[in-house]
Symmetry: T
Subunit: 69 residues, 12 copies
Amino acid sequence: MSDHTYKHIELTGSSTESSDQAIQNAIAKAAESVKNMHWFNVVDTRGYIEDGGVKYWQVTIKIGFRIED
Amino acid sequence: MSDHTYKHIELTGSSTESSDQAIQNAIAKAAESVKNMHWFNVVDTRGYIEDGGVKYWQVTIKIGFRIED
Amino acid sequence: MSDHTYKHIELTGSSTESSDQAIQNAIAKAAESVKNMHWFNVVDTRGYIEDGGVKYWQVTIKIGFRIED
Amino acid sequence: MSDHTYKHIELTGSSTESSDQAIQNAIAKAAESVKNMHWFNVVDTRGYIEDGGVKYWQVTIKIGFRIED
Amino acid sequence: MSDHTYKHIELTGSSTESSDQAIQNAIAKAAESVKNMHWFNVVDTRGYIEDGGVKYWQVTIKIGFRIED
Amino acid sequence: MSDHTYKHIELTGSSTESSDQAIQNAIAKAAESVKNMHWFNVVDTRGYIEDGGVKYWQVTIKIGFRIED
Amino acid sequence: MSDHTYKHIELTGSSTESSDQAIQNAIAKAAESVKNMHWFNVVDTRGYIEDGGVKYWQVTIKIGFRIED
Amino acid sequence: MSDHTYKHIELTGSSTESSDQAIQNAIAKAAESVKNMHWFNVVDTRGYIEDGGVKYWQVTIKIGFRIED
Amino acid sequence: MSDHTYKHIELTGSSTESSDQAIQNAIAKAAESVKNMHWFNVVDTRGYIEDGGVKYWQVTIKIGFRIED
Amino acid sequence: MSDHTYKHIELTGSSTESSDQAIQNAIAKAAESVKNMHWFNVVDTRGYIEDGGVKYWQVTIKIGFRIED
Amino acid sequence: MSDHTYKHIELTGSSTESSDQAIQNAIAKAAESVKNMHWFNVVDTRGYIEDGGVKYWQVTIKIGFRIED
Amino acid sequence: MSDHTYKHIELTGSSTESSDQAIQNAIAKAAESVKNMHWFNVVDTRGYIEDGGVKYWQVTIKIGFRIED
């Protein structure tokens, strides 16, 4: 495991439900084209406001995935 | 849209339920006196502890609202 | 109250459910051995990915507790 | 001069021309309602993209103004 | 207490005496127009120099106050 | 709009003219291969010096673009 | 001296008098149970407000102490 | 040289030998698919522990490479 | 693995040889009293100078270890 | 080139025209006494306000210059 | 005043009395060789511990002084 | 020792061998003209890439030296 190389990509996911779901949506979208994803970490949490409430959440994450040998 | 000016205010909302709800509460309170709110971003997430659990969540956010012409 | 001293410890809690629950789990674990916990603040939110979704959430928090006189 | 108190406000100005002009626009807008402004500092520079170029610049600044006695 | 909302303002206070007194002066000035102030935290400590010594101290703080229901 | 996912890329653009033009050049270059670019934010501004002046400006930006469904 | 190992602990001390005294109080409290303390550095300075003035100062410090061989 | 555009990628390399070798391994892996790499800078140095020692080093770097015209 | 809790401690290790060895020394010292150490990350790298060279390296790391159930 | 040593100095330049010109002015002033300047990076952008506009721009930069052998 | 250039130097001053006095001592020492000093800002506050109290305070500041024309 | 004043300088050293050697080279170069150097701390680690490997390491450090009385 010590000789693996990982690449990081930065994505912003959105959700009308919750900040956690915005993260899930970003990962689900990435999974369509990226393999071997291992972890994520949150870079920024924000969102848009409408009618005195959160219209949708936007969470920016970094995802690390293993580069295949 | 390019000639709009936005002002930012910083608020801390509280909730006994969840960190997301603390954000919703801060925005709902701000909506009583601020118009044209567009977005928020999370500055700090913290809370108070009682009996080995989170008593209430406290999330500090910045809110951006458009200054009317 | 002005002459109290507080100590901070840093913990990472995990949960398969949500980022908020990872915080609750870290506090519950700490409560087994630490008394007089007052507050926490979030240092880092991350997690592990499996099958295109979050396998478990990992949230690092600082907890402040009062040193007894 | 040593007994003055200053308040800071945070604004985002926009311009289709340049990043400097976005700052000028934020200050001009603030000048409609704020007196005794002394200085600003840049917090964040960003913008929106359209047709492969900058559609408008958005610069967030803090402005310090003297609270009148 | 869990349903309170707090607003933050940022001020710079000055003093010829000490850095602590610059904080006290900023709070005293704010108290003329702001109610329900609860806490402050130091953002920046600086000052002006004259004749090889500190002419006056300038400390920038954030003050949190409870928004009344 | 709430279910969009955005990806961020980081680029450094160069210009002998100005810091703003270095940003324009980075975006123009990116537009050759990236679609649906929405925004940028400045990460770092630097440059090279020759003959006591700026030889060319180098501005590093992050660009966010929408991942197509 | 090159083969020593130091451990860091983070404490918040309080004082009604001054920010410096809050640091002294944190160190005095730590000295009741920790030996071989060498240095501290300030992490955060804050305080509570009452009647338009500082009720008590709270300074968070890290303390480094040598782990005995 | 002033009209070049550079793209940055972020990678984590691993090594059982040293932190420097973890950087070399990340660059060697990137070289299999990326051309015109010019520089790197270290973002984060960490590692895994086993049997009271470093099992392997993990260094996260950003690499800048020139986008071909 | 998702229900584990980790605690972080911060240590400064020293070495006359290299920055990597300073990390190894801190971990070896910690291993005398801490079990289940999993990872470390570098917080700060510094050192003392004598006779125009590095007399000894000092690296501050955080170590994460699993709290036993 | 690999055995060069560079020293950094930090300067604040001013201009009534633009933020870019403030950087040019700082470099031109430094060039009167410093040789072998290679690069600069922007540390802080601020300015003074008068009559609802920017009176002059102040940009703080670091300049790197090669120490001659 | 808009065409002045300022240089910054970084110093650490010490005092057995207080953190403010450590700043005063650094400025007094600098005044022996530097002219036209205008302002300072605090970068870091730390100190050495002996016998369960602060032996001496060490404050690192940046000083800005005008480069003479 | 409590009344000493220290000045900090920032240097970038280079080496084809290792990141540690780049630090040693910067200190050795500084030692040609600076006396009473006490400590350094690493500000930034980077390097240049050629042929899929590190061509040379560049480490930026701050050096603290005592100003003689």
